[in-house]
Amino acid sequence: MANDTDIAIRAEGLSKRFGDFVVVEDLNLTVKRGEIYGFLGPNGSGKTTTMRMLVGLLEPDHGRGECLGLDIRTERDALRRRIGYMTQHFSLYGDLTVEENLEFVARIYNLPAPVKTAQDAIRELGLEGRGDQLVSTLSGGWKQRLALAAAILPKPELLLLDEPTAGVDPKARRDFWEHIYELAADGLTVLVSTHYMDEAERCHRIAYLAYGKLLASGAGDEVIGNSGLSVWEVSGDPGDLSDLAANIRDEEGISMATPFGTRLRIGGPDKNALDHATQPYRDDSRFRWEPSPPTLEDVFIHLLRDAQDNRAVAS
């Protein structure tokens, strides 16, 4: 058990509903200081809602949470000064210039020399000479970099990034992550949600959410190991593979059958049951079967399918 001062985020039993719709259910989460923590899960799984509760933008219905040792319900004012939040949808002012936006943020946080701070940030961003450009006219990638620059301008101790690289090209994503690593090396804690597997692998630890529930958490290989998943990779004619996937998908013991390029990845949590289910097809001369180590993506697909099945049973 880590010391309290080593903990950046601690949430216990957080729940949030909108009307009758439970969006986050009994969520427990611990993020250590200096960690890059990844938040994964399909759209609508409650990632944004959880982040909003953690920054005090939504009132949890149940449970409690602390960020940097400050209660997310009662110590919001202190919290707001010490965390940076980058919203999923761009939320700087499109009708202000780059410099005006940064200066605004600097003033809200009472930073010394706001004009100089804004200009320094523009230089660091590599936006020299474009400080007078209206933000609405920036490209998507630049908007995201600007939003990150704004979020870290007041030098927060904890940074929450909600899908910061969605829709951004690979080069820009790499640069973005390099920046994140630099920040983490300086002791910043980062909670980042993403749909990209390569980004999930870059995180120190990850959590996987579906239907508002935390299905798995830990370091990447821990999550893979804990799932107990075994995977076969099958190659063959694409048409035959697609028939095979359709036939085998609902078999007992199989929790994933997903095409991956020209191959099909078939897996299940119980090696014996998996092998039993695949047995009739393994001698088929049209296919070549090879055991393959499960990837994070395999595990997520498997977890999601599992959760779907549990929901179907529950309702």
Binding site: R52, L57, L58, E59, T87, Y109
Partner: protein, 389 residues
């Protein structure tokens, strides 16, 4: 062939009707889902019918009147009684001398002042012509019109009742019995524009300023910038002040334009203290800006904010005394009017510009505006959501 026919299954008029039906049903469904818009679309006509039908009266009766009755004879008393029964006048004050009527008119406590001189009865008894002075506060010309038109007949009725015995022959003499002198105060030429223009400033400020602050906050919600703003260390009070202050300068410019054109184009007099006028305008500007802010804490979209502003503006327009005589309205409508900011602003503007009124006779309207603003600010701050819930 069959394939082609299938693609074009509903040609011509049938296709047109089908698409029309799709469009119309869709619009109806969307209209019904937007509850706020729907409520306001229904609410506005209901409110207008109520206000025009029941509250607004273009020929007001029972207007408050102060009487200075110096005559001790029977004629004066009879005239006052005739005024009471005429339903145009309602004697609310009795004063000793004609000089005391002026301040009552200036403060707006009464609409009319009537002075009946000491020799009123005596002159009639002697066969001379008596005089009666009617002072009318003409800053509300629509209100005084009826009464001024009827005053001759009313006075005549009152006097006739006392023309008994030896005096009965006077009923038919050709010498006029009473000469009624009407003094229209504050707007002697009975010009409507002079009365309208000061109040018009209130209407302009109200609409443009409250709509703009209302939009300024809801715009942040609609565009998503509110999410970032709320995650930063800024308080609702700071947000409110930030939204309001820029529009104070807009209000100042609008006021300058309206006031200058009032004086140069419409020859509206400026009888009172300019400082008092500025104070009234400043207070009103803050009041309407806070209304906009309050609306923005309720409205979810910019469109809703606009609609709610208009919804709140309508009773201000109709019940403030700007467009229709305040005293012509039934008590319930006057009570509503008393809590509306435009009512007090119109009184302040007319009071300062047309009547040259001093603070001493206007302080109640100042106080009402200030109280209104304070209440709106408190409600607005309490209602402002610091979360996205």
């Amino acid at each position: 062939m069959t394939n082609k026919a299938h693609q074009n299954r509903a040609p011509g008029f049938g296709g047109f009707l089908g698409r029309l039906r799709a469009m119309i049903t869709k619009e109806f469904k969307q209209m019904r889902r937007d509850r706020m818009t729907f409520a306001i679309m229904i609410g506005v006509p209901v409110m207008q019918i109520m206000l025009f039908g029941f509250a607004i009266n273009l020929d007001p009766r029972h207007l408050p009147t102060a009487v200075a009755l110096a005559d001790h004879g029977p004629m004066g008393r009879s005239v006052v009684a005739a005024m009471q029964t005429s339903r145009y006048f309602k004697v609310t004050r009795q004063v000793g001398t004609g000089a005391e009527l002026e301040p009552l008119l200036q403060s707006g406590e009464v609409q009319f002042g009537v002075e009946i001189p000491p020799d009123f009865s005596r002159r009639i008894a002697r066969g001379d012509t008596a005089t009666l002075l009617l002072l009318a506060d003409d800053t509300d010309p629509a209100a005084v019109g009826g009464a001024v038109g009827a005053i001759d007949t009313i006075v005549r009725q009152g006097v006739n009742r006392e023309l008994r015995g030896a005096l009965a022959m006077r009923r038919d003499t050709s010498t006029p019995i009473v000469d009624v002198v009407v003094h229209r105060r504050y707007n002697p030429a009975n010009e409507t524009d002079k009365v309208i223009v000061p109040g018009l400033l209130g209407v302009i400020l109200f609409l443009s300023l409250s709509i703009n602050t209302g939009l300024a906050v809801t715009r942040e919600r609609e565009r998503g910038t509110m999410e970032l703003l709320l995650s930063m260390p800024v308080s609702p009070f700071e947000i409110m002040i930030g939204k309001i202050v820029p529009y104070i300068t807009v209000g100042a410019m609008q006021s300058a334009i309206v006031l200058l054109s009032a004086m140069w184009l419409f020859d509206v007099p400026m009888l009172g203290s300019p400082l008092l006028l500025l104070a009234a305008i400043a207070l009103f500007v803050v009041a309407v800006l806070t209304i906009g802010y309050l609306i923005s804490t309720v409205a979810r979209t910019q469109l809703q904010a606009m609609q709610m502003t208009i919804f709140f503006f309508l009773p201000n327009l109709l019940l403030s005394g700007f467009a229709f005589p305040f005293r012509g309205m039934p008590d319930w409508a006057q009570m509503i009017g008393e809590v509306l900011p435009l009512t007090h602003f119109v009184r302040l503007m007319r009071g300062v510009m047309l009547k040259g009124a001093e603070f001493a006779s206007l302080w109640q309207d100042f106080a009402a505006l200030a109280a209104f603003t304070a209440v709106i600010v408190v409600i607005g701050l309490l209602r402002f959501r610091r979360t996205l819930d």
